[in-house]
Symmetry: C2
Subunit: 188 residues, 2 copies
């Protein structure tokens, strides 16, 4: 099998999300995903370690975006501004990749499977730790870094489902800004 496979990765993700939604994550095999995508199992395994990884392979890029945005931020930003900058960068990544629809399909799969929900919690906890470390590396003292990062994760957790279901289809960065505005109105 040596023919060129344009956008194999994207086609595999699309096929997997469709099948998970139709038949339930547990019941779908890698062979079926590959067949739906018009590709071989071997091609699948060149892109993903297993069928779960299709749902979680974006985590590293998400983490790099978060921490990279903090590292590149102006030195005079406050801890909460740094967190907002980082989450806005993630939002721009989502929008640039047109991730709303696949993210919605993915969330519906995760909502039906407790093991995937645990995996998602672990992912969020890791992002929180990475964000704390990035803030600390940018000169924020440890206690403030930890609180700002956890508050950022809180805003992210609230914003994400709003983005998925927003009837006005507002971009993620706009909803992040609205979330921080609400936070300020709530605490001040």
């Amino acid at each position: 099998m040596s023919r060129w496979e344009p956008n194999a990765r994207g086609r595999l993700e699309q096929a997997a999300l469709a099948l998970y939604g139709e038949r339930g994550y547990e019941r779908v095999t890698v062979a079926e995903i590959a067949a739906r995508a018009g590709l071989t199992e071997r091609t699948f395994f060149r892109h993903y370690a297993d069928k779960r990884e299709v749902l979680f392979d974006g985590t590293n890029r998400l983490q790099q975006t978060l921490t990279g945005a903090v590292a590149d931020a102006p030195a005079d930003q406050t801890p909460i501004e740094l967190v907002r900058t980082a989450l806005t960068a993630v939002g721009e990544l989502f929008e640039a990749g047109e991730r709303r629809e696949p993210a919605r399909q993915r969330q519906a799969v995760i909502d039906k499977n407790p093991e995937l929900q645990e995996r998602e919690l672990v992912k969020l906890a890791r992002l929180g730790t990475a964000l704390t470390d990035a803030l600390h590396g940018h000169g924020v003292p440890a206690p403030a870094a930890s609180l700002a990062a956890q508050v950022g994760i809180a805003v992210f957790r609230v914003t994400f489902p709003r983005w998925l279901d927003d009837p006005h289809r507002r971009p993620f960065p706009d909803l992040i800004r609205a979330g921080f505005d609400e936070l300020r109105a709530m605490t001040c």
Copy 2:
């Protein structure tokens, strides 16, 4: 075996935490915990379903305390005040039960075991959902309830390790108050 067993539950917890710390959670058996406590395995299973439950049986009480405090709070409290009231009530529970030392031992066990860490994340996520529901039940609109609850969980996550390691042994409610003061200073 019909003799009276004073404070069997507390003795079992103490024995379990000591053994988990000395030998590693994975390597300790229920028989060993019971023997260390001077009790039978049968008594162990009257109190705990398994050795993991010794570490997580406080979750229900924690949740009841959180949600009960919200339900009983004055109607004029803002969402963030309600969350602070709820976390203060949890702090008072910890102090009344003299939980700092067992909580520190428990945390050391959890920090060494990824499966227990996942369990802890699931626990925190459930507390967040319960807090959201309690706020909503107290009249807070859904979007604000969700954000306030997640921010409360963020403050709790930051405060908990501070309480465990506080050199001045300040009470949990004082550290919660300090956490909300930091949050305000950070966001306003």
